[in-house]
């Protein structure tokens, strides 16, 4: 009973002093409960993603067709490889973190310092990789056309593979130029015009008989997007509203905008956790160097940030599964 009730004896200690409920120090126990609440927060986000995914189960983007880039392999269809690399980086930085904790138990300052440094480097590499992944997603790969009701149609060749807009669209002399302040009204601004206009896409489509379109709809037997015969394709193109290149919070060339919204929000929220983890790790790293924990007599602080760091890895395991695998 004594171990679970606070007594007046330790009033001066905000951290509970010698009291150790559940035989864990206050700091460690509170880190566990913070992690519990954070895990439930992430579950809420991933659960909402799951709700929307089941709602649009027959028209959700196929991850293998969205994340296909790998550094220095331009134009190569490389699904999964890059995110697998990112996952390994994060798992490995988890290993160095736990090695730092292990070295801390044995009071080996030099080893703790070294492993903390490796962990920080791993975290920074992961963040950089995440930024690159975002860049590719934002820039897009093929381009698509959005219909009046918001649906996305993509262009495929005879073999059913997607083709880029540039491959069949012939740029025409456009009478419309971007409105800039120096050449127009000084108080009016205009966003850059799209490189390819809707008319050019439609003309290019008519000029290339080997190309047809596919909708977002999935053939649930084959788990592939349904390709529309060319004879029917113009009925779709007559309904088109805009050319879409890349993905953002408003449109997404890969399909449902919700997919982009959830991707940015959940990986962004996770990335923010990684970022704060790196910052906290750096603080602890310098504390290790100046010998704070050596004087304190234990490296429990390393253990606590380690818990947070492993949690970040744990969340990534689930994000990886739900965004890239299933």
């Amino acid at each position: 009973m004594e171990s679970t009730i606070a007594t007046d004896a330790d009033r001066d200690n905000w951290d509970g002093g010698n009291q150790k409920p559940l035989e864990a120090s206050y700091g460690k126990m509170m880190m566990w409960f913070f992690i519990l609440s954070d895990a439930i927060t992430f579950s809420g986000f991933l659960g909402a993603y799951g709700l929307m995914r089941f709602k649009f189960i027959d028209s959700w983007p196929i991850a293998d067709e969205v994340f296909t880039h790998f550094p220095f392999l331009h134009g190569v269809h490389a699904p999964m490889y890059y995110v697998a690399l990112m996952t390994f980086v994060l798992i490995f930085s988890s290993v160095t973190m736990v090695l730092a904790v292990d070295a801390g138990h044995q009071m080996k300052k030099a080893k703790v310092t070294f492993y903390m440094l490796l962990t920080i480097i791993g975290g920074v590499i992961f963040l950089g990789s995440q930024a690159w992944e975002w860049k590719n997603f934002i820039q897009g790969s093929y381009g698509a056309v959005q219909l009046n009701d918001g649906k996305i149609i993509q262009f495929v060749d005879a073999s059913g593979h997607q083709v880029t807009l540039e491959s069949f669209v012939k740029p025409s002399d456009n009478e419309r130029t971007q409105h800039i302040k120096s050449k127009g009204l000084w108080f009016v601004e205009e966003a850059a015009l799209p490189a390819i206009t809707l008319n050019e896409v439609i003309e290019g489509f008519k000029a290339h008989p080997e190309i047809t379109i596919r909708t977002e709809q999935i053939n649930m037997e084959l788990k592939e997007k349904i390709i529309i015969p060319r004879a029917d394709a113009m009925n779709f193109l007559n309904e088109s509203k805009a050319v879409v290149v890349g993905a953002n919070l408003q449109v997404n060339e890969y399909g449902k905008t919700l997919f982009a919204d959830f991707f940015f929000f959940i990986t962004g929220f996770h990335g923010f956790h990684v970022f704060s983890g790196v910052i906290i790790n750096i603080i602890i790293f310098f504390n290790v160097i100046i010998g704070t924990y050596e004087r304190r007599g234990h490296y429990e602080m390393v253990e606590k940030v380690g818990l947070y760091w492993h949690f970040v890895d744990l969340v990534w395991v689930f994000v990886f599964t739900f965004f890239y695998l299933v």
Partner: protein, 117 residues
Amino acid sequence: MAHAQEHTSHTKLIWKVFGILSVITFVEVILGIIKPEFLHLTHFLGTSLLNSIFLILTLVKAYYITWFFMHMADEKKSLRRAVVWTALFLIIYLATLLLIEGSYINDVMGPLTKWNY
């Protein structure tokens, strides 16, 4: 006060767990790239067998990270249960309701979505 326990190094265990996690991730990635048809195109308990395998492998990874990297195995049983059981219960509860509702919306809305023009 001082940590009298745990002066022995667990380096060997850590590398072993790293090996297990790497192998699982490797298997997941290979399956994700190949997507064998006999797993991918089947229906079992509301999803494909492949997805069920991914889910199970993910939970195995989560177990190894929590138990051996976060040292949950060394915590007192009461702390472990307070954290793990709470999380498991609430997450399963939430996910079940949300996914059932999502399916239901699809059942109602799906037939009304226009796919031909």
